[in-house]
Symmetry: C2
Subunit: 309 residues, 2 copies
């Protein structure tokens, strides 16, 4: 008996600098309604889904503050929660969180009754805290967000074991393994990934989509888990393009659904949460095959760092 | 100034059950000579390159013993070492090692003077120790080999930082990360991977080549390292086929050379050992971005194991 769950990746196209929260939430609701018509039980929105991806700007803190949510839900976002309960659809939402003066890049898991049942704060914050001179666009995530303090958890929800990761987290095999060690069956990961890389002269910019896909496929295969990867994407202003390529990836590492636009777009799949069992009990039977005594360096605050010389 | 090294993957086709060590060593030498003519400085032979891949059989220990090397070099293999010194070519060789009653699946790194400068013993031993009833071919690596006791090291050699891994090790991100934390620039990994999977009914047998490639590409990208992946391959007896697809993979995760046969075949590339620097100092700057305090579970002998119930 397969354990079936119908999941959707609700990709969000450009959100412009002065778009209101209300305008964005309307778009999210439209995607949720489409998802519901397609039988989706869990709809996944991307990282920082409520505003433009502001870390490309150097802003005064007071100016940046308007992109953060001081409570969740709040009056602007409440209609999304209401509609979820109305339709009986659960959701995942990434947003910029302000919690008593601390800023995080966060995501929540919301059940079909519109209740928040899980929260995650992004662990691997990329980019810089100071602007790089001479660049038109920055990637100042380390200025605006603290490193998350939640670690990686797995929730029993939607009939399975669900984990969350955010954007750059997906590139780190540690993310997937820490979730995998907890038996995760579905990892939800949203992103904002500049297609034209924020650091000029990086030779691998052309490989941005390949590296994103590679990270998801490897993470899924090596832990026998599904992933829903979902983008906040498109040209948010001239010459600043965020990649799309939202995808649903199987526990064998195969892409089973893929977005094709840089606009609001829903993709969905019916997934069998048991599909990773053969991997988990076979080639990646952790208890049988892992050699944790050889992995010590991974959890030690040490290691070669070429940039420290 | 790039740090160039010309490397070769010397893929070995079928070795039959009764082929002598001398016959195999002749083939290895022919590949080394071809490599030398192509300017290769380091030629990489696969896992268990000196005999047929015997773990498919259930053998008496005394019968299996003939596939192991009690010393390295030994009189049968000495000609390979002699030729290496003669040609000024270094090499990597995988073989079945018997060391004072202990059996390992091992590999060595040999310099251009024919001196052994590094030894590694396979950490992640796949398969079973007892035969699975009803199967024509087994995968009894856990019967014939102990889990390696060396851990993962990196050697300063051939102008760079070189690590070794063996076959199933390549699927585990821990392998790559432990090497990556030591600043590895080139990982050499040989394999014997049944294309028709040894366990009947495994649904992902058709993905064997994809999973091998995925593991190499992810490991390289996520650690900014080159890899030479090299197969012992082909139909060693009717219905038992080992996959080939030897490949050289860049620190960006791109395949830059690929074998096309299931026979003895040399592929080679000139690689820039500095090519991973941009990755190591950028997206995977370990010291800046890693969160080792969140990775504890990875080096603990714990975790969910579905097969233990």
């Amino acid at each position: 008996m397969p354990r079936l769950l119908r999941v959707g990746a609700a990709q969000i196209g450009p959100i412009y600098r002065d778009d209101t929260r209300g305008e964005v939430v309307e778009r999210l609701i439209a995607l949720m309604e489409e998802a519901e018509r397609k039988g989706v039980e869990l709809v996944c929105y991307p990282e920082c889904a409520l505003s433009t991806f502001f870390p490309r700007y150097l802003l005064e803190r007071s100016e940046a503050e308007r992109y953060f949510e001081e409570s969740m839900p709040n009056p602007s976002v409440q209609p999304l929660f209401d509609q979820a309960r109305e339709l009986g659809v659960g959701f995942h939402l990434g947003y910029s969180e302000l919690d008593g003066g601390n800023h995080y890049n966060s995501s929540i898991l919301v059940d079909k009754e519109g209740r928040i049942i899980g929260k995650y704060r992004k662990s691997h914050i990329p980019g810089t805290s100071e602007p790089i001179p001479g660049q038109r666009f920055q990637h100042l995530e380390r200025r605006y967000f603290l490193e998350g303090d939640t670690g990686f958890s797995v929730w029993d929800a939607f009939g399975g074991k669900i984990g969350m990761a955010i954007c750059n987290d997906r590139r780190w095999p540690e993310t997937w393994r820490v979730l995998g060690m907890q038996g995760v069956e579905l990892v939800i990961v949203g992103w904002n990934t500049p297609l034209t890389h924020y650091r000029k002269g990086i030779s691998y910019s052309r490989l941005t989509e390949f590296h994103s896909k590679l990270s998801l496929q490897a993470g899924c295969y090596q832990n026998g888990t599904w992933a829903v990867g979902v983008a906040h994407c498109g040209e948010e202003e001239p010459d600043y393009v965020l990649m799309g390529q939202s995808m649903i990836v199987s526990p064998l590492g195969e892409v089973v659904a893929l977005s094709t636009t840089l606009r609001d777009e829903l993709i969905s799949s019916t997934i069998d949460l048991d599909a990773g069992k053969e991997i988990k009990e076979g080639v990646f039977n952790f208890e049988l095959y892992r050699r944790p005594e050889l992995y010590k360096i991974i959890s030690e605050p040490t290691g070669t760092n070429p940039s420290k010389g």
